[in-house]
Symmetry: C2
């Protein structure tokens, strides 16, 4: 049972999987040894070996600089700053942005002991100083920590003389007013525009 126990223990460390679902996952894998278990082992080993953080933007890719940083069809004048690689994926899925990204790798948090030196900020300031860059969009999460971090990053970018913008806050598409929190409603009212 040693090998199976080890797989279970490791799977149980993944977010969204506990001991119980890890056991179910292991049995599922054992029943699909050729179709799922071996390919997953290979894919994990390959990804762990080949994928690295892009030295320009911090995105994860098998190439460095990453495919987005080296894509000539993308606008090099706009940089979208996000907390995490998952945010890059979300924006790419939405096909919402055609510029470049910068992943700072977290948010400032006194509670978790994350200071400015723990974030990927120095390279961002350097990139913002490049003549080709005209705008930096701060796309942190609309959480207290995210917005605190956005303020800090905006301050750091001020000397670069680049235009700094942030995402609009308001009613999400498909959102019902009745279910929205007070903060969102207030922001949506404040940022109202004439039609």
């Amino acid at each position: 049972m040693g090998d199976l126990d080890r797989v279970m223990q490791l799977l149980a460390k993944l977010p969204g999987l506990g001991p119980r679902s890890a056991r179910r996952a292991v049995l599922h894998l054992m029943k699909r040894r050729e179709a799922l278990m071996m390919p997953l082992a290979d894919a994990l080993a390959n990804a762990a070996r080949s994928i690295r953080a892009c030295s320009v933007c911090g995105n994860l890719d098998s190439a460095d600089p990453c495919a987005i940083c080296t894509d000539d069809r993308r606008d090099p004048s706009v940089i979208c700053v996000v907390e995490d690689v998952a945010d890059v994926w979300a924006l790419e899925r939405a096909v919402a942005f055609r510029g470049r990204y910068h992943v700072i790798g977290g948010v400032l948090s006194a509670l978790d002991g994350v200071g400015p030196e723990d974030l990927n900020l120095d390279t961002l300031v350097a990139r913002a100083r490049e003549p080709a860059v005209t705008e930096v969009i701060l796309a942190m999460n609309a959480t207290v920590d995210g917005q605190t971090t956005a303020h800090y990053v905006a301050d750091r970018l001020a000397p670069a003389g680049v235009k700094v913008s942030r995402l609009a806050h308001g009613v999400p598409v498909g959102g019902e007013l009745d279910y929205l929190d007070d903060g969102t409603l207030m922001q949506a009212l404040r940022a109202r525009h004439s039609v």
Copy 2:
């Protein structure tokens, strides 16, 4: 992105993980490359290579016959028949049973096209005929399919002349009557015993 996408696709096939949680899991893995991702790849490859179904009872183990079948301290006269390896684990965790097991590997299901020939039953009948075996406990799930399967297995075991028993149904320990279904309450009442 190819290698990461592949890991995501495969993880999303695990029970309990969808595309969204698979993405979160991949980022979690990438952040713990040495501590989690590489060990998981190794453990999966090792388990896929070494773990097989016990030819006696159908349990999963790196040895064949499995550690339970070869454990001399366990009672060889009682066989507990379960649907799945997860049930063996559940009974072992509860330290509820000190005999041997037999994993039939599923339940009869007309809907899913599972017939008697798809289950690990022939070896069970052969084991039940061994002189050392005096009792077979049917420990299928208390579902319609599980109980149908238990009936079928009991019929198949009848010629072997072995004692066949099944688990008691009733109020689970810690269960509140108010929250129990009608079927359980009826079974618990019917199987009441004097104190």
